[in-house]
């Protein structure tokens, strides 16, 4: 008799590869069904579970491409991308990258970036909480060490830079949006800070310099280096007020001197 591991491995291969029917030799269908019909119930439910999870994470992509295309893309993604967690809520992080390789999606050049924005929202929704930054501790830092500060962003925060107006695309495709549905794709790109504030995920457009500052800090750069990156975008950038704002708003939650 095959081992438990062999049986489970064979079952899993059959779920994702329609050409691999070797599991059927090990199964009996329910009454009135052959093994293939019974196994098809599992194949359907597995793909259906993943479609549901991806639809919940990517509602705007779903609206943009329609159900038929979305489900085909989702099934292709599922075959190509094994789930590695028992928690299906965190499955689907690379769907945007997968979409960029889908032949039918190439006409919608902005689609992968919309998907990246939706994944940033989905991740932020369930990211860890964090205590606000201790401003008294920050005030005690000697001025000569300020350049060496390395900040930590809120666990839900992510930064997204796109050549497309993804925020407008996202907004007009929200279920409660009432207004002109069209978006001028030539309107230029967006630089966004996505993070959870309270229970809701906030999408905040940033100026180039502020984006450069936060992106550098998020990448682990010290404050001095991050300032240079910001000033390279805009020499008149108000660094102090921007930092204060992001400390007060909880974007920056911790720091270390290195």
């Amino acid at each position: 008799m095959p081992s438990l591991h062999e049986l489970q491995s064979t079952f899993a291969r059959g779920l994702f590869d329609p050409a691999d029917a070797s599991v059927l030799a090990h199964l009996r269908g329910a009454r009135g069904m052959d093994a293939a019909a019974g196994f098809a119930v599992y194949r359907n439910s597995t793909f259906s579970n993943y479609r549901t999870a991806l639809r919940e994470a990517y509602p705007v992509v779903l609206r943009l491409v329609g159900e038929t295309f979305f489900d085909q893309a989702a099934d292709g993604y599922v075959r190509a991308t094994p789930s590695v967690f028992g928690d299906i809520n965190i499955y689907g992080d690379a769907f945007g990258a997968f979409l960029s390789g889908c032949p039918g999606a190439r006409e919608l050049a902005y689609l992968p970036d919309v998907a990246r924005l939706e994944w940033a929202c989905h991740s932020a929704f369930g990211a860890a909480d964090a205590q606000p930054l201790d401003t008294a501790r920050l005030a005690e830092v000697p001025p000569e060490q300020l350049d060496e500060l390395r900040f930590t962003l809120h666990p839900s925060a992510s930064l997204l830079d796109s050549p497309w107006p993804v925020l407008s695309i996202w907004r007009v495709n929200q279920p409660d949006f009432a207004g002109e549905q069209s978006v001028d794709l030539a309107a230029g790109g967006d630089r966004l800070l996505v993070m959870r504030r309270g229970h809701d995920v906030d999408l905040e457009p940033l100026h180039a310099a502020e984006y450069a500052l936060l992106a550098a800090l998020a990448a682990g750069a010290p404050l001095g280096g991050a300032m240079e990156a910001a000033l390279a975008e805009d020499a008149a950038f108000g660094l102090g007020s921007s930092l204060q704002r992001h400390v007060a708003a909880g974007t920056l939650v911790d720091f270390a001197i290195q």
């Binding site: 081992s3 489970q8 199964l27 069904m33 928690d87």
Partner: protein, 305 residues
């Protein structure tokens, strides 16, 4: 910091019906505090911070809560996911649940999760493996868990143990409790052509600490366990017989697809509550009571075996 109330005690009331807590009902449940004896959630949906966990913690102040896992994969040939177990333990510490349950199924192999509840071959090897994993889980969590019988659409040709004996043996070997899903027994009984009452007679009644009820869909050739409908009439019948022979057990109405208004769930729970209290249920199909006494020795039968 918000002032927090002392939560109600963790214990799930033994003779009460409860409902599955689902996201569309969070606000209404907090605002109206409906007459549900307890609430159950899918553990994995609360592994992370954010809105769902915030609501669960607030709701826990007013209701006993049970945690019902769908992703641990107790039946996998491979090792349990240590990170998944750690997240479950964190959630237990945070919520103080009255019961913690998992499924008697598998859903991961070779590092890939299938995120589904798949049937085990009922063999000595699988029995040994799932019992070892239950033992490991109970040791790690420092508490007893319940395991639930699943519904199925195929059987393994290699089965050597009837499912009900496999379920019973798991409880006896590991000391875990059983979460008896009466709908799953019915669905599998119809699909595989066995007698659900014979299944119930093999289950050690003392080990049953919770009962699940849900609705199924009728597929072209078999019943499909969708949790998307009201509990069907034959399942209510089987439930009544189960309660008559076991005595009252905490009973949960599960609904996972096409989630209806909260009032529909509460209405289903009220029907279960009537049966638990041995009252006349408000539905016509309870006029004909099943014959009594047939399954009175449901628990004793196994102990003699």
């Amino acid at each position: 910091m918000n002032a927090r109330l002392d939560p109600v005690p963790a214990a799930i009331p033994p003779a009460r019906a409860g409902i599955g807590l689902r996201a569309p009902h969070y606000r209404e449940i907090l605002a109206t505090r409906p007459d549900s004896g307890w609430l159950e959630v899918h553990s994995e949906n609360y592994f992370r911070d954010g809105r769902p966990l915030w609501f669960l913690e607030r709701i826990r102040e007013h209701f006993p809560v049970s945690l019902h896992g769908v992703g641990l994969s107790l039946g996998s040939a491979g090792a349990l996911d240590a990170e998944h177990l750690r997240q479950l333990k964190n959630l237990i510490e945070r919520i103080d649940p009255g019961l913690v349950s998992e499924h008697l199924s598998w859903g991961a192999v070779d590092g890939r999760h299938l995120n589904d509840l798949l049937p085990l071959p009922y063999t000595a090897e699988a029995l040994g493996r799932v019992c070892a994993h239950i033992g490991e889980t109970q040791d790690f969590l420092g508490r007893r868990i319940l395991v639930e019988n699943i519904s199925s659409y195929v059987r393994w040709r290699h089965d050597t143990i009837p499912e009900q004996e496999f379920v019973a043996e798991v409880a006896l070997r590991t000391g875990c409790g059983l979460l008896l899903d009466v709908n799953n027994i019915y669905v599998s009984a119809v699909n595989h052509g066995f007698d659900p009452r014979a299944y119930l007679e093999a289950i050690p009644g003392d080990c049953v600490e919770e009962i699940h009820l849900a609705g199924f869909d009728e597929g072209a050739t078999c019943l499909i366990d969708t949790h998307g409908r009201r509990v069907s009439e034959p399942v209510w019948q089987l439930y009544r017989e189960t309660i008559e022979s076991l005595g009252p057990r905490p009973t949960l109405i599960e609904w996972d697809t096409d989630i209806p208004a909260l009032s529909v769930l509460l209405d289903e729970a009220a029907t279960a509550q009537c049966i638990l209290e041995n009252m006349n249920a408000p539905h016509a199909h309870f006029r004909s009571l099943p014959p009594k006494g047939v399954h009175a020795s449901l628990g004793a039968a196994h102990r003699e075996a």
